[in-house]
Amino acid sequence: MFAELGAFSVMLALVLAVLQTGFSFGGTKRQGLAGAGEGAAIGSFLATALSFGLLIHAFIVSDFSVANVANNSHTAKPLLYKIAGAWGSHEGSILLWCLALTGYGAAVAVFGKGLPHSLKSRVLGVQGALGVLFLAYTVFASSPFARLVDAPVEGASLNPLLQDPALAVHPPFLYAGYVGFSVVFSFALAGLMEGRIDAAWARWVRPWTLAAWTLLTVGITLGSFWAYYELGWGGWWFWDPVENASFMPWLAGAALLHSAMVTEKRGALGGWTVFLALLAFTFSMLGAFLVRSGVLTSVHAFAVDPRRGVLLLTIMTLAAGSGFGLFAWRAPNLAKGGVFAPISRESAMVLNNILLTAATATVLFGTLFPLISEAMGGTAGVGMPYFNITFVPLMALTALVLPFGPLLAWKRGDVLGALQRLWIAAVIAAVLAVAALALVQPRHALACIGLALGGWLILGALAELAERTRAFRAPGPEVLRRLTGLPRGAWGMTLAHMGLGVFALGATFETAWKLEAAEVLGQGRSLDFGAYHLTLDSVGGAEGPNYLAERGVMTVTRGGRVVCRGEPERRFYPTGGQTTSEVAICARGLDQIYLVLGERRADAKGEPVWLVRAYYNPWVQLIFLGPLLMALGGLMSLSDRRLRLAVGRRREVAA
């Protein structure tokens, strides 16, 4: 009964979304109709939330008469993974997407009080239209509530690799981020319809972009962290199509955050900001399509369904096509904004945007290259080396110019002045590189440049902070007063830029100087990696709620001192017949020792031996800490009172 109610409430959500679209567009001039549109938006969200709750309920009570539950759940699964199973499948994840989509629509209806009436109606109208597309897809092609005629006694369980705490919460964050750009998309289209892309418009768009970008940052970091410790390959980013799919909207969103600031503060770059707003959500939809359709061979795509991929592609073409179509039609008529000198903060932001967009384009090209090549009759693909050689230099260039931006004035800046404030940071970064070149073995010149850039970013952000607070120049109490009086937006920027630097340091150090060793070991045997000595003490059996495991006990010593005792497992899930590796990780400061127990074999004498892999990942914690700092920066900026108060104030000015 619950499943039918769930299916019904998705349909209800669809009907309400249709009404939302009609009422909102009809209500741009009439207050009452617009109010009905807002009500429909909230209702559509509530209906979707109800159906999503019922889906989770079906998973919790293991109702195997529902096909989706039977295919993705199992009674022996821990509760968290039963709940996570609700979004582990194609149908469930699309419903989650719809939940986020209608949720954002409802959020605009509730929190958008300060918006001009007609703009708000149009935003809700576009958001409703997007909701119609995806809810219709859910109802007609991907219902998560389809029943089975013969309910099986036991379910097929969720892919064991997905049974992990980080991955259980990864999709909600990721989708909240992906779909957050839908609001920005709706604002862009509404602005184009009104023919009004100005400072006030950018001010309304900024918080939504920030929220989506922050959530996406957290989502991607969680996914990367999961890949790092769950896949047991010791890597954290593989330039896999699925990863790129989430990375492209992130890059576009980062560019949008900066260009929206120029539009907000100076009224310039309006057309470009709209273009990026459309692009960000298009990349989100492209991501959903790539991940869910299986057109690209990915190592970690789950719940792939080629047939419905075509439908998703159609939805994407429809939404993005009408968006960019309207853009092409209306953009030439947009008011041109303020003029700025070649050396100014605007120019720095433009340069940031050029570099980020170029980097996004190289990622997009590399991701779609197998399709391009196939269309031309080839079967070539690109791998990690391609992305490293295209993306990394562009990002390095971005990092090089980044610290200048915040130190330049709007309209007309002073490079020499900025240099004066940055020279200490530059010197320290250079010293860092030279020291690394001299001290860290083996020598790695490129990595030293990467370290210098990381240091440059962090110190550059601090230099800007020092400039704002007049640190080292004004007396202590005044510095403190200025520090506490700093707007949260400024803190957010400093944190985000520092986060990028922290990430660069970690990524460079880990990639250049990680140690790894793999050897077949019997019990009591050992292997060496770098200065570390690993002994496989013993291997025993272990039993989990829904798996059997071999658990190795390993001791790592350095110079005779024990530095790590780890118990990696190799788990076998009888339900799906799958094996997974559970790595053991010991943190040592910023570094991690990473141990994997591989498969069991027999040596020449028939004794059991295990393939053991050990990694020493220096500074690897920074790789995950950096993005978290960025997300924290986003959160700080989002909590800035100026961002919220301004909405109301601007309205008076505009009205």
Partner: protein
Amino acid sequence: MRFWPKSRKARQRLTILLAVAPVLALAAGLTLFGLRDSISFFYTPAQAAEAHVPPGRAVQLGGLVEMGSVRKFPDGGVSFRVTDRKASAPVLYRGDLPDLFREGQGVVAEGSFNSQGQFIAKRVLAKHDERYMPRDVAKALKAQGEWRGDGAAPPAYSAPSSK
């Protein structure tokens, strides 16, 4: 400075263009360089034999793991044969095989042929979805009429089959 336009608007546009052009050129240059560096072609064993892939060139070899061909050595090495049911090629690999590597399953090995015609794999891919058949493999097998309809099948709405 005859080329430097008088109007501030035009000047701004020109500046932006001057900034865009080098970055675009750099991105395009890097892309072409990256492509030259890392294009790896995909062959099934029969196609590889036909094409006479030169030893040492980085390629992908895909097909099914031949039944009964997997041998694991105590030193951590593995040898197996990849087949497309028309021809097969020996593969040597050192390292941990993916969890889902099994005889009769689809795999893609990345590496190069040596002068003896053995494929020295640097990486062996088998996805962590049990229904996985690498797309290239499925396509090549289909083209050769060897498709068994397995692989990336859509989730069937029936009682889960025993695996």
